[in-house]
């Protein structure tokens, strides 16, 4: 079973059309919320070390739009955008998410639900990504695959370099 205090992100597929991401943070949830919804702060972590974040726009109100983009090393510009649907500060944020790198992007939008639960100064985060179709869900996961491949290539290069 999950070890308490583990700070590893876990990704599971609860159904054919869903992705569930969970992670625990050693911080109160108002700070996690702040880091998640403040552009200057999002710019510091969302890149996941895969390049530079070029766009970070957050209009945090129901019906407001967001857009994130980055220049991913060896992959080029990748962009995501969506609209906020439900906002319960520090607890719950529902928004749409369009991955701009796939054909028919708008039609394949996902619905993302962020929930934050605080317990003794720690915050459990869950992000549920729901797609209309299994194909849409699978394409979403594979958007991460490109990054993973890139990582593997970088690592390979490093290892190869050290052998010289």
């Amino acid at each position: 079973m999950t070890v308490t205090g583990s700070r590893k992100a876990t990704v599971t597929l609860p159904s054919d059309t869903q992705i569930l991401i969970t992670r625990e943070f050693v911080a109160p949830r108002d700070l996690v919320w702040k880091a998640w919804t403040t552009p200057e702060l999002v710019r510091r972590w969302w890149h996941a070390n895969r390049g530079e974040m070029t766009v970070c726009e957050i209009d945090l109100r129901v019906g407001g739009k967001w857009r994130y983009a980055m220049n991913a090393e060896g992959f080029g510009e990748v962009g995501f955008h969506g609209e906020y649907r439900e906002i319960q500060p520090f607890e719950r944020l529902v928004s749409t998410e369009v991955y701009e790198g796939i054909p028919d992007a708008e039609a394949n939008a996902a619905l993302d639900t962020l929930t934050l639960t605080e317990d003794g100064g720690r915050t459990l985060m869950t992000v549920l990504v729901e797609h209309a179709t299994k194909e849409g869900r699978d394409a979403h996961i594979e958007s991460g695959m490109e990054d993973g491949m890139q990582d593997a290539m970088d690592l390979l290069e490093e290892v190869a370099g050290s052998l010289r």
Partner: protein, 117 residues
């Protein structure tokens, strides 16, 4: 061969919600079919049918124990699914590691501003 599609690989086999439930139960240990019937609240013929599909793709294995047949999970067969998701998980892990750094800074700032938090 209309049902071949559901049995070709682990991806298809665990696409069915009931079969995922069976996988979850077996993840906690080896079980006879009666236990699965009781835990899932589904009739035995149904459970047996799902077990057959899971066995065909190697996700579930069976062994005889006296008169009972015990079913257990073969994690290796689920590895392709794990690998597929892992790259995506890796991106989020690194993202969250960076978020930890931001949070530590925010915590320090808060403690600086109101020490009685």
């Amino acid at each position: 061969m209309a049902r071949a599609a559901t049995t070709t690989d682990a991806f298809n086999a665990v696409a069915e919600p009931r079969r995922r439930q069976i996988v979850d139960v077996l993840a906690r240990g080896e079980r006879p079919v009666n236990d699965l019937v009781a835990q899932l609240g589904v009739a035995q013929p149904q459970v047996s049918k799902h077990l057959r599909v899971l066995r065909e793709v190697g996700v579930v294995e069976v062994r005889g124990d006296g008169r009972r047949r015990l079913y257990r999970l073969n994690g290796q067969a689920l590895k392709p699914i794990h690998d597929w998701v892992r790259a995506y998980e890796q991106t989020w892990s690194e993202r969250f590691d960076e978020l930890d750094v931001v949070l530590d800074e925010l915590k320090e700032k808060e403690e600086g501003h109101d020490g009685d938090r």
